[in-house]
C-alpha cells in the first residue's frame, strides 16, 4: 500500500510539472519575438491623451528596454505610476531595471512624481482597472493614492 502511495505521489508530481511546463510555452508564443517589443497598455485619463508627448516619451523609453516584457501605466494629474513585468530570466534583475527605468523617466519627463514598480501586485491591480474600464477621475485618484501607499510598505 505504501508503494502505491509513493507511485501516486510521484506521478502527480510529474504531471504537475508537465502541465506547468506546457502553460509556460503558451506564454512565450504570444510575445513579439522579432523585436522583443513589449506589449504595452496605458490607462489614460482625460488629462492625457495617447498623442500627448508625455505619454509618448514614456512609451518610447519603456518600449526601448529589451528586458521589459510588458507594462501598464496610469497617469493622472502630474502623477505617473507604472507597473512593469520583466522577461522570465530578467526577473533576477527586476529591482535594478525598476530603478533604472524610474531614473530615465524622471530625467526625460522632468516630473518628480513618478513611481515604477516590478511588483506583481500592482500589475494585477492596474490590469483589473483596465478590464473594468474605470474612467471616474475621483475613483482613479483614490486608487492611485492607495497603490502608492501600498508600494511603500515593507512588511
Amino acid at each position: 500500500m505504501m508503494i502505491r502511495f509513493k507511485n501516486y505521489i510521484l506521478s502527480i508530481g510529474l504531471l504537475c510539472l508537465l502541465i506547468t511546463g506546457c502553460s509556460s510555452n503558451q506564454e512565450s508564443s504570444n510575445e513579439n519575438n522579432e523585436y522583443h517589443s513589449p506589449q504595452s497598455t496605458n490607462i489614460t485619463h482625460q488629462d492625457y491623451q495617447s498623442s500627448d508627448p508625455l505619454s509618448k516619451t514614456a512609451d518610447t523609453i519603456l518600449q526601448d528596454d529589451d528586458r521589459i516584457h510588458s507594462y501598464i501605466g496610469m497617469a493622472i494629474e502630474q502623477q505617473l505610476f507604472i507597473a512593469i513585468q520583466a522577461h522570465t530570466f530578467q526577473q533576477l534583475n527586476e529591482q535594478t531595471i525598476e530603478k533604472e527605468v524610474e531614473k530615465k523617466l524622471k530625467k526625460a519627463l522632468q516630473m518628480k512624481d513618478i513611481t515604477v514598480t516590478s511588483d506583481q501586485k500592482f500589475y494585477m491591480e492596474l490590469h483589473q482597472l483596465q478590464k473594468n474600464n474605470e474612467t471616474d477621475k475621483v475613483k482613479l485618484k483614490k486608487k492611485l493614492k492607495q497603490l502608492k501607499k501600498l508600494q511603500k510598505e515593507k512588511t
Binding site: G13, L150, E153
Partner: protein, 151 residues
C-alpha cells in the same frame, strides 16, 4: 587498540544500510518543489484577493503553511510524507513548523510548562541560534565595510 577501532569502523560502514542517493534526491526534489508550488499558489491568492504585495506576502504565506502543517502533524499525516520525502519535507518552513509542533504535542503529557515549553525548541533552537548569529556577523561585516569604503 587503534587497529581494533579502525577495523570496527570498517565493519560499521559495511553493515550500515546503503542510502539510495539518487532516489532520495529525486523524491526530495519533487516533494520540496510541490510544497513550494503550493506556497506559491497561496501567495498568489493572497496577492489577488487581499492587499498584499510581492514584498509583504511572504509573512502570511508562511503563517498559512505552518497552520496547515499543524493540521497535518496533529493527524499524523506529516510524518508519513516525511518518511517518504526526507529533506523534501524537512527543508521547507513546514518542516520547521512540524518539528516545533510535533515536539509540543508529544510532550504535552509532561505538562505545559516543563513538557511543551521545555521541549518545543529542540530542533528550532539551533536553527534560530545559527540564523540570528550568522545574520549578526554578516550584517556587522557588511555595515562596517560600507562605513570603511564610505570614508
Amino acid at each position: 587498540m587503534s587497529q581494533q577501532s579502525s577495523n570496527y569502523k570498517d565493519y560499521e560502514q559495511s553493515v550500515e544500510p546503503k542510502r539510495p542517493l539518487l532516489k532520495n534526491c529525486i523524491k526530495a526534489f519533487i516533494i520540496g518543489g510541490l510544497i513550494c508550488v503550493f506556497g506559491q499558489a497561496i501567495s498568489t491568492t493572497y496577492m489577488y484577493f487581499f492587499n498584499f504585495t510581492e514584498e509583504t506576502v511572504g509573512n502570511p504565506t508562511t503563517a498559512t503553511l505552518i497552520f496547515i502543517t499543524m493540521l497535518l502533524t496533529g493527524f499524523g499525516i506529516y510524518d508519513r510524507i516525511a518518511q517518504f520525502a526526507g529533506a523534501g519535507t524537512a527543508v521547507p518552513v513546514t518542516g520547521f513548523g512540524n518539528a516545533v509542533i510535533s515536539a509540543a504535542i508529544e510532550h504535552r503529557t509532561e505538562g505545559f510548562v516543563q513538557g511543551v515549553g521545555g521541549n518545543m525548541f529542540k530542533l528550532a533552537g539551533s536553527v534560530i541560534l545559527f540564523g540570528v548569529f550568522s545574520a549578526f556577523v554578516i550584517a556587522l561585516i557588511k555595515t562596517l565595510f560600507s562605513y570603511w569604503s564610505g570614508m
